[in-house]
């Protein structure tokens, strides 16, 4: 689905996200010395950000690929995603996960 935003708006998003991402990455590298320790509450909260965020990016794409809940073996992305999850679990490799997931999707679409 091509974006409705014009090129200049996309550049604005890129610039804003670039500045904010740099600020987040630089936060403690610059502050260290002034703030010697990260507040413990912030540290434990940040610890759970990756699992929550990555899951939020994965689950809807598998469970509701077209916006409606589709929990059945007829949902090829859910089946392919489950196989890719097994590959990710046992190999912890991005490349293997992509190959298993895409391969399974193609087999389900074009062969089965």
């Amino acid at each position: 689905m091509p974006t409705g935003y014009d090129s200049a708006t996309v550049w604005l998003v890129i610039a804003l996200a670039g500045v904010l991402t740099f600020a987040i990455r630089g936060s403690f590298i610059y502050l260290f010395g002034r703030i010697d320790d990260v507040p413990p509450a912030a540290e434990s909260a940040l610890e759970y950000v990756p699992a929550a965020v990555f899951a939020a990016l994965v689950f809807p794409a598998l469970l509701a690929p077209s916006g409606d809940l589709a929990v059945s073996v007829g949902n090829d992305k859910l089946v392919a995603g489950a196989l890719a999850a097994l590959a990710a679990w046992y190999t912890e490799r991005v490349l293997v996960t992509i190959l298993v997931g895409m391969g399974a999707l193609w087999v389900l679409r074009f062969v089965v």
């Binding site: 689905m1 091509p2 974006t3 935003y5 996309v10 998003v13 890129i14 804003l16 996200a17 670039g18 904010l20 991402t21 740099f22 987040i24 990455r25 630089g26 936060s27 403690f28 590298i29 610059y30 502050l31 260290f32 990260v38 434990s44 909260a45 940040l46 610890e47 759970y48 950000v49 990756p50 699992a51 929550a52 965020v53 990555f54 899951a55 939020a56 990016l57 994965v58 689950f59 809807p60 794409a61 509701a64 916006g67 809940l69 992305k77 392919a80 995603g81 890719a84 990710a88 679990w89 912890e92 490799r93 991005v94 490349l95 996960t97 992509i98 997931g101 895409m102 999707l105 679409r109």
Partner: protein, 231 residues
């Protein structure tokens, strides 16, 4: 006596195996940009100015769905919050650097550069830490730029029925699995993922799924941790 260049090369070598994960991820980010109607220059702009793969992919998808710009940028911030944790963890090693070197170190702070460097710093006090870090970070940077451009150039020629858009969630899946270390992170994953799905299925406007799921998912992790679920 270690020299600057040998530590730099050590960093490049240490990042080598991780390039196998970066390269397909970069290709996917490039393909996704073109599929959502962005140009090759936009793809390179994302890769060079933002240089954070997961947030790039999420922003590209949100732009394709014409989500409000505040949500596009806010989602990127939430996804990249994890690098604040890396920043805090690696900061003591960089405290004596010049402001310019700190800026370069901040710009290059990815999951992979962090993981490779912090492992080495823990083992070996003799390393020129900044050189090693730049070796790892800059080589990852280079592969990321080259593969996103390659993906963007390739992207416009891919047939839609092959479903290459599915590669994006697969990349996130590969990033998700190693974060599941204990019950608390498992709870963050399950709750975050289900809340995001619920928000999407319920048709909540403005594509708030990632932001809401991150907040609720983190709270779930903290809740389980406080119940002693870590043990």
């Amino acid at each position: 006596m270690p020299t600057v260049s040998s530590d730099l090369l050590d960093g490049v070598r240490a990042a080598g195996p991780l390039q196998l994960g970066i390269a397909p991820f970069g290709l996917v980010a490039g393909v996704a940009a073109v599929e959502q109607g962005l140009s090759v220059a936009h793809a390179l702009g994302f890769s060079s100015l933002v240089f954070a793969g997961a947030s790039q992919l999420a922003m590209i998808e949100l732009l394709g769905a014409d989500a409000p710009l505040a949500i596009v940028v806010g989602t990127a911030v939430v996804i990249n919050l994890r690098t604040m944790m890396y920043s805090a963890s690696i900061a003591p090693y960089f405290r004596d650097l010049t402001a310019r070197s700190k800026a370069l170190a901040s710009y290059l702070l990815t999951d992979q550069a962090y993981a490779v460097s912090i492992a080495r710093y823990g083992r070996d006090g003799e390393t020129d830490r900044f050189a090693y870090y730049v070796g790892a970070g800059a080589s990852l940077w280079l592969v990321w730029q080259v593969t996103t451009v390659a993906g963007a150039l390739l992207g416009s020629g891919l047939p839609p029925e092959w479903g290459f858009d599915f590669a994006a969630p697969l990349v996130f899946l590969a990033l998700l699995v190693p974060t599941l270390k204990d019950r608390a992170s498992g709870a963050s994953c399950l709750v975050g993922g289900l809340v995001a799905t619920g928000v999407v299925v319920a048709g909540v406007p403005f594509h708030l799924d990632i932001i809401v799921a991150a907040v609720v998912g983190v709270l779930a992790g903290l809740g389980v941790e406080s119940l002693g679920g870590d043990a």
